[in-house]
Symmetry: D2
Subunit: 139 residues, 4 copies
């Protein structure tokens, strides 16, 4: 399991004064950027130098509690499944102050070459990182 | 079925030069704002005057094709299910130029009082609007 | 003078419940995208096909009144000055409902080739468009 | 002088592949949030509990160099002037990797009560913090 913190920023709430629902996916992406930070050069190097992107193809989201300005999200990243060219993550977002579960997100990404635009076999170093965080789903 | 157009804006792509995946939910929300425009005062009136919000509690998203700067998303909004206090929408996002399906989004919202923060029974005028767009899922 | 409308969107306010101050520049940019819509293929064609961008080099902004969710901004775009490779716009943002001036923005952009990354002489069709909206500043 | 780091995030570039110009103000705001972090409860406490906001009334921005995905902005915050109810900041944004100056931003804010919506005299603890970072402009 990999963990990442993300304070809610001033401009991230909506007219209902809670973090805009679409931003939960942005928070998950930030956590994934941090997750891939373990690789040489991190996620920017994947994108800018290796032309290796991870477009999402599927996600399931359960919003369970609101986040407000002043809260910090603690995001737990787990790898639920690793395919040849794809991987599925299971994220949990907690409201750090009171440890309330704010959302669960299951997200499947495909590894793609950003210029050729086709899927690619997951490179060895990326696979090793994913495997290090693979967890059997809890019963 | 309700239809809404949303041109991709200059700042909405990411470092992979396609519309950032989380924005698809934002596009669906914009379409819902337009959908509720049929009510007196529209969505702003719901939020600002009636204190009636629609936080999402569940969504399933399938991303099928990228959107780029210069594309316009055509969003089809359908109501798939109406409960006492919740409703489920089935959105389809098309790339308007070539009519390619860019994403399918199933989104369940709960009707809430924004100050009391609890769920409420769907008001009559809102229910009538939802019912007018209720469609049995295609077989 | 060119005019463009921009409804405040649900997610564009901040934790103080007014449109986040940086978004005023985004609204001006949206108005400029619309302004260049008069050219063949519009702003996307400039960016995607002609590799012609307009990075800002200078701006002065006076925020005069808040915008809230439910408001629509009416943006007046004027061309204040045209150089060989640069142009200065004078934008005025009004709150459409009560016609209150919400902001004044003076913005200087340089015409650049997006791949070569250097400045370029303003192309003829672009210059003609700018000249059509050139206005001597009011005394 | 107060200093704050801000990595460019994946979704913050635009279709020209550089950080969208309006985001520079967002980066400055993030730096100000960090700056006010020295106060009890930080900026969220100012906004949520003390109802004390700092709407911008004026800014002058000079964009000098682009930021790209993979860059980190280092933002230097200086207080240039302190009034009774307002303050002027002088921000410098540097591209951390090569220490190139990316932008200079002069920003004047007014201290306001968020509910009463009028300006207020700068509270003592806030004034003390501002004074601690007051710097005479360089000749």
């Amino acid at each position: 399991m990999f963990e990442s913190l993300r304070p809610v920023r001033f401009a991230e709430v909506d007219a209902a004064q809670i973090v805009f629902f679409a931003r939960y996916l942005e928070y998950c992406h930030d956590a994934l950027e941090a997750f891939f930070g373990a690789l040489e050069g991190g996620y920017p190097h994947m994108i800018n130098v290796r032309d290796l992107g991870i477009p999402s193809v599927h996600a399931e989201i359960d919003w369970r509690a609101p986040l407000r300005y002043g809260d910090t999200a603690r995001i737990e990243v787990r790898v639920a499944q690793i395919g040849t060219r794809s991987a599925t993550f299971a994220h949990r977002l907690y409201r750090q102050g009171d440890n309330v579960l704010a959302a669960e997100v299951k997200q499947t990404v495909v590894f793609c070459h950003l210029r050729a635009l086709g899927s690619v076999v997951i490179p060895g170093d990326v696979r090793a990182l994913l495997e290090a965080h693979l967890e059997a789903p809890k019963g």
